[in-house]
């Protein structure tokens, strides 16, 4: 029983971490058909901004998280102004923005390195302690990450499905030109999506760094996992990505226990290949994956 609980808790924790990493990435691709390769750096930036707000400005944790999200939103807006807007409407937008955001990510990572240094640092926004289920400990921090992941996904789903802005976003993602002809302010939608994604990435970065540490390149691994999850779910499908994140988290924990940690990622990648052979557009995807 203890083992089953431990695997379940570990799987849900992994899934929650993957889910929070994935939401922003999936949102941008779903709405803008844009792979934001600076997403990993935005995760790191959010984590560091929160630490800075708590330690240098002396803000309480919730306010510091809001400051970090504002910083993430501002950088998301800057990505739109500096990279996405000039390229919008040009041939090969997806490829151009993919490469441009790789560069932006590198710049952001080096800026973080310059201001905060290379040493790993602890994220001050975290919950200590936990509760025991039999002999299995469930840290409060893991609960916080899980709840945050669920709230983020529900929030994004409601925004996309039940709001006027969401309708405009969906219209833009379906057919940009038609949406524009119908009066949707395309550029403003793009800017809002990138700002929202930046804010979500910042919140994700706070959660991820509370489970590991703050490092300028801390976003690289979550970004890789998020990309895999997006591909399996179907690029751009936010609820699908969340479901896949939790499923893969639990599966990974199970493989780690049964076969050993070293086999988990390799087996997961094999499963990804099988899924993509079976459904090239992803489990929940409706169009084929763009091959760059």
């Amino acid at each position: 029983m203890d083992v089953t609980l431990q695997i379940l808790f570990s799987g849900l924790t992994l899934g929650a971490v993957y889910a929070v990493s994935t939401v922003g990435l999936a949102l941008v691709f779903g709405a803008l058909n844009m792979l934001n390769m600076a997403h990993g750096a935005l995760l790191a930036l959010g984590g560091y901004a929160c630490m800075w707000a708590m330690q240098s400005l002396g803000l309480p944790a919730p306010l510091a998280a809001l400051v970090a999200m504002a910083v993430g939103a501002a950088v998301g807006g800057a990505i739109f102004v500096l990279a996405a807007r000039p390229m919008l409407g040009q041939e090969g937008f997806e490829t151009r923005i993919f490469i441009a955001t790789i560069g932006i990510g590198l710049v952001l990572e080096n800026v973080i390195h310059k201001f905060f240094g290379p040493q790993p640092q602890a994220q001050p926004l975290k919950l200590d302690g936990g509760m025991m289920f039999g002999r299995v400990n469930l840290p409060w921090q893991n609960v916080l990450i899980f709840v945050t992941a669920v709230l983020m996904m529900v929030g994004v789903a409601m925004l996309l499905g039940r709001s006027r802005l969401g309708r405009a976003i969906r219209a833009t993602s379906m057919n940009r030109d038609a949406a524009q002809l119908m009066g949707v302010p395309i550029r403003r939608i793009y800017a809002l999506i990138l700002m929202l994604s930046g804010a979500l990435a910042a919140l994700s970065g706070i959660m991820i760094s509370s489970m590991s540490s703050l490092l300028p390149n801390m976003g690289a691994d979550p970004m890789l996992k998020a990309f895999i999850i997006c591909v399996v779910a179907g690029l751009g499908n936010v609820p699908g990505a969340a479901g896949v994140a939790f499923a893969l988290g639990i599966l990974e924990a199970l493989i780690q226990y049964v076969f050993g940690v070293q086999y988990a990622f390799a087996i997961l990648l094999c499963l990804v290949i099988v899924v993509l052979i079976w459904r090239p557009q992803g489990i929940f995807g409706e169009r084929e994956v763009i091959r760059l």
Partner: protein, 444 residues
């Protein structure tokens, strides 16, 4: 990239030797006085000697890379204050090795040689470094000191000592972590400080030559020390969720858990998840706990953890004085243990070069051979202890596993975190130990 240096002021009037040596006491350990003596009161004012370093200044190992850079800068400034090398000041240059793959490492070292004409390359570690850098060094003839701590270096040098005369490993190879750890366990058992609950030992490693070589050395010799390896688990990095691994450990609790993976954040998470439901196991980890981040993240859960290093600043008069100077210059959180590596390496080379009559620039093979000869025969007492090269492999000897005389080998230090608000206590080997082993709280 050229460095903006904070130079120690050279004296306006050349002082008497006694006054001069007194003023510079502590620089470079015992070698500082030796170098000053050879320089015979000369001021560092001749043509500068370029010295290079290829270090991971960005990416995942940048925390150490920045300290390697600091260590070399500090050594160069101090050596210059001592008169440089026979009156010629040192001028450091740096190249970034980022993720430390061989291709990047070779390019970085080649640039140092081609662009700056460095007479020596004094590195910390580059974990991806194979045989490629020694080949570049051999082709140019200059001197190379590194702290990769790899058996690969020993094998390479032994395979062709004539070609690789200029490449030196300033610390023992990682292999010595294995027998050193098993020997340490035997000692604390024999002295009654630790009693094993069973003969089982779990070994957790990460994919990578360094961690794997240490883990393999422990596994291969465990039986000789009466241990049975009950678990040999490779983890993918980074890893923050240890639940499945801990579940397996709790099903079959070992007396000792040996973790050779070395990322401090990952190790801190292990302790945070281990402590709420611990097994009666002694926990030994590699390197990561030496970084402040481990204690900051794990907090009180870090107390009781053992860790080791085959190269680090000792907690003695020389080591503590170095730590004080280093932190005064680079900040209270600066990692002086990493900086100590190229710091000692630079002094080793500088003293040998001064004894050999000067350094050699690229393609000056004869002069560099003279320097290398001195380095092979020198016994140098620095902040990390004694550097004495094994002449066949040009790698520092390990004490107490390779040599039993503390004056002839670099101490394999064992430390324990006893208070998470302070650094680790040095509990072995004698005569460098400054504290006793304390039984971790979870062992009752």
């Amino acid at each position: 990239m050229k460095v903006n240096k904070v130079k120690l002021a050279a004296p306006n009037v050349i002082p008497g030797r006694r006054t001069f040596l007194k003023g510079m006491a502590g620089f470079g350990g015992a070698a500082g006085g030796l170098l000053a003596g050879i320089n015979d009161g000369a001021r560092a004012q001749g043509a500068a000697i370029p010295v290079g370093q290829a270090a991971p200044l960005t990416d995942f190992a940048a925390a150490d890379g920045v300290e390697f850079r600091n260590g070399l800068i500090m050594a160069c400034d101090e050596i210059n204050a001592l008169g440089g090398i026979l009156g010629r000041p040192l001028e450091p240059y740096f190249e970034d090795t980022r993720q430390m793959g061989d291709a990047t490492n070779v390019q970085a070292v080649q640039r140092l040689i081609d662009r700056y004409g460095v007479h020596a390359v004094i590195n910390g570690y580059n974990v991806g470094s194979g045989s490629a850098i020694p080949d570049v060094i051999a082709d140019s003839g200059v001197i190379y000191v590194h702290y990769d701590a790899t058996m690969g270096h020993n094998s390479l040098i032994a395979s062709d000592p004539e070609r690789y005369y200029g490449s030196f490993q300033g610390c023992p190879a990682e292999y010595w972590y294995g027998p050193g750890f098993l020997d340490f366990l035997r000692n604390i058992e024999e002295s009654g400080q630790f009693t094993r609950s069973n003969n089982k030992m779990a070994v957790i490693l990460s994919a990578g030559v360094y961690a794997a070589n240490i883990a393999n050395a422990v596994r291969d010799q465990a039986a000789e020390f009466g241990w049975e390896i009950s678990m040999f688990e490779t983890v993918n990095v980074p890893i923050s969720e240890w639940g499945p691994t801990l579940a397996r450990l709790r099903e079959d609790p070992p007396a000792v858990i040996c973790v050779t993976h070395f990322f401090p954040a990952d190790l801190a998470q292990f302790m945070l998840q281990f402590v709420p439901n611990p097994t009666p196991s002694l926990i030994y980890m590699q390197y990561g706990p030496s970084l402040p981040a481990f204690r900051e993240i794990a907090g009180a859960a870090s107390e009781g953890v053992l860790y080791a290093t085959v190269v680090g600043a000792l907690q003695d008069e020389i080591g503590l004085a170095f730590e004080e100077r280093y932190k005064e210059r680079f900040g209270a959180n600066a990692g002086h243990n990493s900086g100590a590596q190229p710091y000692d390496g630079a002094y080793l080379w500088a003293v040998a070069a001064a004894m050999a009559g000067g350094t050699g620039e690229p393609d000056e093979f004869d002069q560099n051979r003279l320097v290398a000869d001195r380095m092979r025969s020198l016994i140098y007492r620095g902040v990390c202890g004694v550097t004495r090269m094994n002449p066949e492999e040009q790698s520092a000897r390990a004490f107490p596993t390779e040599v039993t005389d503390p004056s002839l080998g670099m101490p394999h230090q064992f430390l324990q975190i006893q208070d998470h608000t302070a650094g680790g206590k040095l509990i072995a080997p004698w005569p460098y130990d400054t504290a006793e082993f304390v039984k971790p709280s979870w062992l009752g």
